[in-house]
Amino acid sequence: MPSPRNWREIPARYRLEAARCRGCGKVVYPARRACPACRGQEFEKTMLSWKGKVVTSTVVQVAPTEFQMEAPYAVAIVETPEGARLMTQVVDCDPGAVQPGMEVALVFRLIRREGHGGILCYGFKAVPAA
């Protein structure tokens, strides 16, 4: 991901900024132009809770080059209390232990490095709730 794109996505990736549809109240993450539920185009900014529940997950055994050091690792769709769903790695646990319904906390972590000399890209990951 080029540096400018990473920079543009800071509000969503660093702070979990999402959008709430003014028409039907659906919370979408990341923010988008049209509501997937009612097609409304009026949104207000909302912040997601730093916690959620695993909806579904998988274990990545053959990772992309930049994530090879981390394999095998779990990737899950996590639903926050606001109803937003986001895809994230689940770390600090046995990847095989990540199951639907598992309560997780969302934490600020390093996601990837742009090679040895490039920028460091931060964002959120999930860890088992304490």
């Binding site: 730093w50 770390v91 646990c93 931060y122």
Partner: protein
């Protein structure tokens, strides 16, 4: 009066036992356990660094303070493992915690006392009225060369302190700094691991500065060692702080709560600040607390604190140090540790 309005700590879940490191290098684990009083240490994950540790600790500090993050006018992170050589760690933190953009930010370095250095300056800005709230953080993913004594202690973690003038969790009654030019431990530009002067790190460095600063703040504040309920010194290993305490007239009981080094390791800039967080996790209103840091090069900062009535209810708003030290942990083999600390040379 100014003081601490919020505090938080973070310790990664990964651990390696001293005996696992000793086994790798053919050393006797009992010698390490008895000599340095170290059982195990924390290890950062591949996705954890000074920035992520600072964000986690800072989030807890804000939660305990219960203030709007945008009111924080200054943020300083003290570390000797800032992820970038050029680009501040604090800029990512202020974005992540919703503090940006009206805030003064800088990264501090002073070996292991960069954290209390950040706290010292934060407190000064709040006392002067220049800012309403200021956050000082000490965090590190400490480096120690393989097969060096430092490898048994160099660990990862940190603590954040939010200073203000209202709704204090702990009043700051006195501060003192003691600094000289002493080459006991250093890392030159471009070097991966620090070097140290072996036994020279003891008497002319750690003990001289910790003891001088502590004696001076006792004199300045008018308190005696027996007046304090809790005391914490920088913890490069288990032995040094206990030895300094004995010399200065503090008991094991006064040291016990903040002495977290035996299972946490030395989190460098995060060491004494995390010990202080462990104390604030249990201190009762009115308890007097003394903290003296130490940073090679060399210097010590001392603070005298007094816990307030608000502390017990606010501490419940974020994880305690003991919950992280004694909670879920993952024990690594030396091979996994070498991978996590990126001690293995890989192809691009």
């Amino acid at each position: 009066m100014a003081g601490i309005v919020g505090y938080g700590a973070y310790i990664p879940r990964n651990r390696i036992k001293a005996e696992e490191i000793a086994r790798q290098w053919g050393k006797d684990p009992e010698t390490i356990r008895r000599g340095l009083l170290l059982e195990e240490k924390s290890v950062p994950g591949l996705d954890e660094d000074t920035i992520t540790i600072s964000v986690a600790a800072g989030r807890s500090a804000i939660a305990r303070a219960g203030i709007a993050p945008a009111k924080i006018g200054a943020v300083y992170i003290g570390s000797e493992s800032h992820p970038y050589a050029v680009k501040p760690s604090g800029t990512a933190l202020i974005e992540a915690l919703g503090i940006a953009p009206e805030v003064h930010v800088a990264d501090f370095e002073f070996a292991c006392k960069a954290g209390t250095e950040a706290m010292f300056v934060s407190l000064g800005l709040v006392e002067s009225g220049r800012v309403e709230y200021a956050m000082g953080i000490g965090a590190d993913t400490s480096q120690g060369a393989p097969n060096d004594a430092l490898e048994f202690s160099a660990s990862a973690g940190g603590a954040a302190y939010l200073f203000g003038r209202e709704n204090l969790l702990a009043e700051v009654l006195e501060t003192y700094s003691f600094t000289t030019d002493t080459p006991d431990f250093w890392r030159r530009e471009g070097q991966f691991y620090p070097r140290h002067g072996g036994r020279f790190t003891g008497e002319p460095a750690y003990f001289k500065h910790v003891e001088s600063a502590t004696r001076a703040i006792l004199k300045k504040s008018g308190f005696k060692p027996a007046d304090f309920r809790y005391v914490v010194f920088h913890m490069p290993n288990g032995k040094f702080p206990l030895q300094a305490a004995r010399t200065l007239g503090f008991s094991k009981e006064q040291m016990a709560t903040g002495w977290v080094v035996n299972t946490m390791g030395n989190t460098y800039s995060g060491s004494s600040p995390t010990g202080l967080a462990a104390i604030l996790d249990v201190a009762a209103p009115g308890d007097l607390i003394l903290i003296t840091s130490f940073g090679s090069g060399a210097g010590s900062d001392s603070f005298v604190l007094k816990a307030t009535k608000l502390l017990p209810e606010r501490r419940a708003l974020a994880p305690t140090v003991r919950s992280m030290l004694d909670g879920p942990r993952r024990y690594l083999t030396y091979g996994e540790y070498a991978k996590f600390r990126e001690k293995i040379i890989l192809n691009d």
